[in-house]
Subunit: 348 residues, 2 copies
């Protein structure tokens, strides 16, 4: 925190299936690979110290924030955030709220992350709702699905902001020039859809983004868009159908390949090429899902994240802070900002 | 039509990629395999006669209804139904409305089928909306997804009827005893979801069906339900994600298998087992999607349907009529029916 050029990331050491060991390992690797990074690990002090004592890392850029509570995956999120004041999620997010960190990474409860993001970190002035925006693999590179979070009964004005934030994020963090922003719908024609998308479509046409119209579900895995805008109910359906169909199909294919001696031999021969292809379609290959529109970045990575995903998520935070994405949100989205904004503390 | 035991099905000979040849062939095969069936083919007289002149079929049970117009896939449905009065879809549906046929099968425009079903065939008294309900393959047999049709801004009372109709359909037509009826949601807990599903959940609990609670998208392909109830916007997302993910994944896997000489050899060896598995997951394996709650049955089969799908769709109509599904709807759903119902003309 001494150096004003450092990007300061708080990390929830206690969240996820492989916490704290894989989380700590991921944080240390991130520090070793990024001289510009400063990490604060929030979690059980003894466990963290035990893990760190045999590791080599830049001690002056790694801080421990001892916490005594852990929010479990199955806990009702609102109650958990309110009651577990000394949990790693609440304490980690508080660092972002206070401006002591630029971003927060967790592999813990999605619900608690969504609630804490809105109530502890807080939204940028002028942002109506903070969307959760995972990257999904497609045949032609990743697509940002915005929103998959808590906004299940979204309004058109919120979807408009999702489209703007998604466009800026994809351009700056994923490096897609002039990203194709689409509205999720049940047909390509403008007059199709439910009341929400019918109201949203003309508003998106007026924005200063590359809005390419409606997209049908079928065209998402094929790579028909860089950004897909939708309410969180629909986004959740899209995201989880993706995971569900891929998982069932691959397990059936695996079963078929192992069903006879001949096919087992064949499976051995196709395995190397197949592995390469399937890695491309792994939903977990893109670090974590950003919760956007907050006064700092919150990244939710998978519950089964290992060190590499944690490191990728921290790298996302560095890119986000360096690219001053929040300042771009404020400037390009013409967000109304009456008070002295908290969101300008990036790099500083 | 002479025999009161005949099930009378009108078939759109002009709809679909392989019309009229595959449609006519499918209808003839259905007649050959079902002595109880009577078919009226609606379409271009010359083309139908040309196809039939070299075929063997029971002439007294096959009738031609000459029509001069065809509704194309891309036409705006409402305008098409209103203007093309002599189209095969409009004329075929009129036979059902007039009680001269029990059911109508088409591989043509889904939009025109939905509009025509509501406006020409008409709903059963007491049915609020007619849902389109395709069967999807899962790891454990088919699941009925109801609704994927035109009801994109559905109300809770409509979803309640969808649940009841879906349960009766699965039990009678697919033969699933006491089908597990679920509500599509973004989580398993009762308090989750958008306003619509929160309102619907307690209503489904009170029904005399086997309501097993919410289902998440991820659990659909795994076979977690026999019936999934949702609005048509969500249903469309689920259906088309299914098709889209499966299609992209399989084409990538195929590409990987053909990418080297070694993997090509492997592909030859795994092919037989793989083919069997993938056939199970073909979305088109279950004939057509019924449009339920009408005064007769309308079945929409795939645009790329060949003779076998057409025959399967006609068989669906026979099962539906014989099981008196519409009468069960009326009795078990306690539909209010003031006038002399048109829906009781099954088998008669």
């Amino acid at each position: 925190m001494e150096d004003s050029k450092l990007v300061r990331v708080a990390v929830d050491a206690m969240g996820g299936d492989y916490a704290p060991s894989e989380i700590v390992k991921g944080a240390v690797n991130a520090l070793l690979h990024n001289a510009q990074l400063d990490v604060t690990l929030a979690g059980d002090e003894k466990q963290m110290e035990e893990l760190l004592k045999n590791m080599d890392y830049p001690t002056q850029r790694l801080h421990l924030l001892p916490t005594t509570q852990v929010i479990e995956m199955a806990e009702p999120p609102v109650a958990a955030i309110m009651r577990k004041k000394d949990s790693s999620i609440v304490q980690g997010m508080k660092l972002v709220r206070k401006g002591e960190c630029d971003a927060f990474v967790t592999a813990g409860s999605t619900g608690a992350t969504l609630v804490g993001g809105q109530t502890i970190v807080g939204r940028l002035k002028g942002i109506e709702r903070a969307p959760l925006a995972p990257l999904l693999p497609t045949a032609k590179g990743p697509v940002l699905l915005i929103d998959c979070g808590a906004n299940v009964d979204a309004r058109a004005s919120q979807l408009v902001q999702f489209a703007q934030m998604g466009s800026i994020y994809m351009e700056n963090i994923v490096g897609v020039k002039n990203p194709r922003v689409t509205l999720f719908n049940i047909g390509a024609e403008e007059e199709k859809g439910n009341a929400l998308v019918k109201e949203t479509y003309p508003l998106l046409k007026e924005l200063d983004i590359n809005f390419t119209g409606n997209i049908e579900a079928r065209d998402i895995p094929a790579g028909g868009a860089d950004v897909v805008v939708c309410d969180a109910f629909t986004g959740n359906a899209i995201l989880k159908m993706y995971e569900g169909v891929a998982s069932v199909l691959l397990s059936e294919i695996k079963g078929a390949m192992l069903s006879s001696a001949v096919s087992k031999l064949g499976a051995l021969l196709v395995k190397p090429s197949l592995k390469k292809t399937l890695r491309k379609f792994s939903v977990s290959s893109y670090g974590g899902a950003p919760l956007l529109g907050l006064t700092g970045l919150v990244v939710k990575t998978h519950g089964n994240a290992k060190a590499i995903e944690v490191e990728n998520s921290i790298a996302q935070c560095i890119a986000f802070t360096n690219a001053k994405v929040n300042e771009q949100f404020r400037d390009k989205m013409h967000l109304v900002d009456h008070t002295k904004p908290v969101e300008t503390r990036q790099n500083g």
